[in-house]
Amino acid sequence: MESLPVASSASDADLISVTQSLAKEAHVLFQLGKYGDCLKVLNQILDKKAEDPKVLHNIAIVENFQDGFSNPKRFLETLDSLKKRSERPSGEVNVEVLDNRIKSMGNNGVNAVANIASNINNSQGIATDDFDVSVATFNIAVILYHLHEYGKCFSILERLYQNIQPIDERVARHVCLLLLDVSFVCHHVSRAADVIGYLERIGGNNLVSQGDSGNIPLQQLTTLVTKSTSTPSNVMLSSDSINSDQIVNTNGPESPLSRTLSEETLYESLISTLDVSGAQNLTRPSNDLSKTQTDESFISSPDLRLKVHLYKVWILILTRNLKAAKREVKMAMNIARGKDYSLALFLKSQLEYARNNHRKAIKLLMASVSQTEAGTSALYYNNLGCIYYQLGKYQTSAVFFSKALGSSSSQRKEKPMKLLSVSHDKSVLFAYNCGLLYLASRKPVLAVRCFQQAGSVFLKRSLLWLRIAECCIMFSEMNADIDVKVIGRGKWRQLVIECWNSRNLVQVDPNLSLMFAKSCLLNALHLLDCPYENLNLNLNPDPNLNTHGSNIKPGQGQVNSNGEAKETKVGNSIGNSNLLLQSSINEYEGLCGKENQMILQAVLADLAFVYLELGNAVKALAAARCLLRVPQCSRVYVFLGNIYAAEAYCLLNQPKQASEHLSSYISGQNSNNTGLPYSQEDCDIWQTRRSVDLDEANSNNAPSIDQSLPQGRSDSWFLKPEEARGVLLADMAAIAAAEGDIERAHEAVTLALSLIPNKPEVVLTATYIDLVLGNTRDAVLKLKQCSHVRFLPATLAEK
């Protein structure tokens, strides 16, 4: 119906054959890299078919190859406008509307649907999609990928993938592979598994059997469709009928197709067919009409099979099913034998890294780099950085990360900038690692810069926002000291005790302020889809207090716990081979849920802390109470939640409620008799790391020192249980002192000082209590013993 180029006249036919042969010629020239000649040919075609979008598309491609994609943004615009021009608004829309109606009508609605449908489509007949935009769309996605616009790229590919079946096999394979790469960057593991499942379903069996290079497996559908495996002794599939049935048996004597059959004979034949258990062969193994493809942009089946296999390994590693990954990687290496496949080696190394066999991981990385081009050296350095970070050797790690960043930026400087070199520049990813490293080395200023650089990719991950907030919190930590000014001389000598209000005097970089930390934490909370965010942060702790609505906007665009947009499965069922992946992913999603719980606790604790620092007791209280409501909240964070809530109540002049939060730790009659708020194990849970696989450790015989936990890590994480008890007692002392119960306060603060002698706040409280009791000497002694106290002569203090 659309003016299909069916040869209606001789001249038309001529034109078609001329343009066809020119198109072939152009394609050959393109593949040979003779872009100038290719453009000439394309322009010849354009003379004959003015404004043909496909010709214009290919011209744009060639031009950009010619100048090395110097302006990818402009290229994108060109593609986009061409795509829009090719898309016809009607056609598909109708089908969609229709399908939705069918769904909504259920069983009985078919007739009604037919009516509606005839209204919609009236004379239009059958829709064609001659104007296939899949190539242009794919190319847009490719450019976005190279520009690190992973989110956009992912959603474009998603749309293509949702309707992948009609897309030309050559393009479809590229779509799948690109989608796989993007999925990995964006951590959309289950989407990746789905694509792998699809690739296996479509090509799997054929891929295994065909040793060719470039034949399209044509019989995929038929092969998969037959139930040779699942239906026992299927009558329909006797082997000789397959062989004899090469050609469609439309003219077979007993074929029900013969139009000569009357209704009656048709009836009888159907009856008899069914009655003899329906031995009627339908399966028609497609006689390999493999069109020989010389196109090098076609991913050959063995190649694809290997890639699929490697991607499977990758998913297994990401989902931490290391046993299965080990098994699969061996198989993959067998397939890859003879070819150099850096991905395979990288994956092997990643596997060993994941299993904490760091030495082996390093060895494999070295091997991979020896046989690959310079483009991967940045990856190599980055991965080495990861390994050394895990070993706790931050300095070495820093060297490698900066080398990774350095080799990326040197690539970037090359002129003209080639598209592929832009793509190889993964500095956005390295930046995140760098940020973590700087954070661990207590350099928040540098860390926050890195995290912001990584933001474009990690925007949707709550963890990024938490890390930035951690930078701000760390930055705010700087000066916490007591100044004692010594004023006057001799008998007039006076001591003025001052505590730090110095922090606010420093002009803080807005990207490191606590206000910024607050916004980041609220972002993280939103991304975590925290069920508390809307309910309880708004909850008034006290009807008399005026709390305004929290800053959190109610969830827009639901993002699930993994920070992934909800996905719909393509295809009906997951093949058997995919069960492994599916189960790993299920398990992994469980793990992610647990990790999200950890992140949530950290976010809420940080939020309560930041609000306290900002002097917003109401919000701090709300955050602390949210934290206490997290199911299976770690005892460490319960402790923090109680302390923060108690402080918030004090600031709100409600010491009774404050005491209630602390009293849960009191055992026995004596109110200063507190137990440990949490145990060492409670702390350890947060730092346990996978132990080395046993078999591996044995085979290595001597477990290397490298693999033990890096020193100093275990105790730097948080307050030890004893110290936490000290904090608890100090705070109980503060409340008691403010309430005037000096005796109890004194007892508590003495205990607290014995547990945490060097906390300025505790020393101040103790000093206060001593002074109230009139023990000036004790008070001054305590100040002198504390390392955080500076005695300053008045002249210095004057400045």
Binding site: V248, G488, R493, Q494, F609
Partner: protein
Amino acid sequence: MIGKPATALLYSLLKDGEKRPIEEIITDFSSKIPRSMHLGICSALVILLEDTPKFLKPTERLVAFALLHHAYSSLQSSTNPYLSLLVNAASNEKTEHPEKSFILHLLGGTKEVLKLSAADYVNKFDPSSHSFPPLDQLQKQYLDKAQPELFNCFFKDAAIKNVIPDPDIPRGCDFNSHEFDLQPGVKPKIGSGDREETLMGLIQSSSLEGLHPHWTRPRPPRLPVLEGELVWVNPDNSHEPLWDLGMCADTSRGAAVRELIVKALKGPLLPTQQEQVLLELTSDPKLVYHCGLTPRKLPELVENNPLIAVEVLIKLMNSPEISEYFMVLVNMDMSLHSMEVVNRLTTAVELPTEFVHMYITNCISSCENIKDKYMQNRLVRLVCVFLQSLIRNKIINVQDLFIEVQAFCIEFSRIREAAGLFRLLKTLE
């Protein structure tokens, strides 16, 4: 907070109590010291007034009290936060009498005293002419009007002054002895100090906050680096833009198929046409998606060309739309052709069970609703053999539909095939 010039000025004003009327001093204070500093200065004065070693001489104290009283004079007197300090001082045993009476004058709002200099007031003071009311009376008189102090903070309310005399002053240094005051021209003894120097230092380093109990606020721990949080990067495929092979491609074969499908919706195709459609569909596996068939058109295709319908559906098995096709298929009016298609599909591909069940239900109800006895018999026979075939080939599990099928058999037990199906069911029980 309070800079050196302001301190010097304040101190000179305090000393001026010796010679100038207090009124003038107050005016100078208001005009020469910016208002923003008044609060800080007042709190410094409070510290100086409260201190046990008396930093201030009696005349200076009077000026200080006057300044404190004046600070809030523009407002209602009951809002003055230093009111209780004044009242306490006025009723304190230890307070010297001239001071007491001066404060009472201030509280009472008598302006005359302010016309005198502090020194004159002290000198002219006649203790016999004054009576000193006790604390509770004064409190009743002045503080009852006072609003309760605006709530500040639980901890800060408990604050005490943050200035303490150094307990470690050299031994043998008697505070009250003037021996240790600095004497001009004399080499200072160990332990001697200058009152003025201390005074100035205190004013300068005074802060609004006193010393109060402090809350220990633990810093939240950093979340340990999670497993897999460090980004390990593997080499990716080299993705390059693709050439569009669809340019100037020959679409005539696809177009021909589309036209044939249009025909196939309207009536049976000729065998050669059928052959052509099937051949093209096989040679280009993607063609089925482009041949123009949609779910709603399926019934027409089934009725006119069931074999093509079967082939198309088989090829569409991987399509996300396949369930819609099935939905249409099992719900279309039961006919020989639809049954043929369903039957072929059940044996060729794995048809979702729910669709098969739906179709069977559809068949059974069609049989029951048909009026023409002859037609009904024919249909029942057909359904029965169809069901038997399904059961034999284990395509359906009878248990799922047992009651429905059994009822069907009983209803039509007069028909031979139904009885046969019933027997088959019994053997499976």
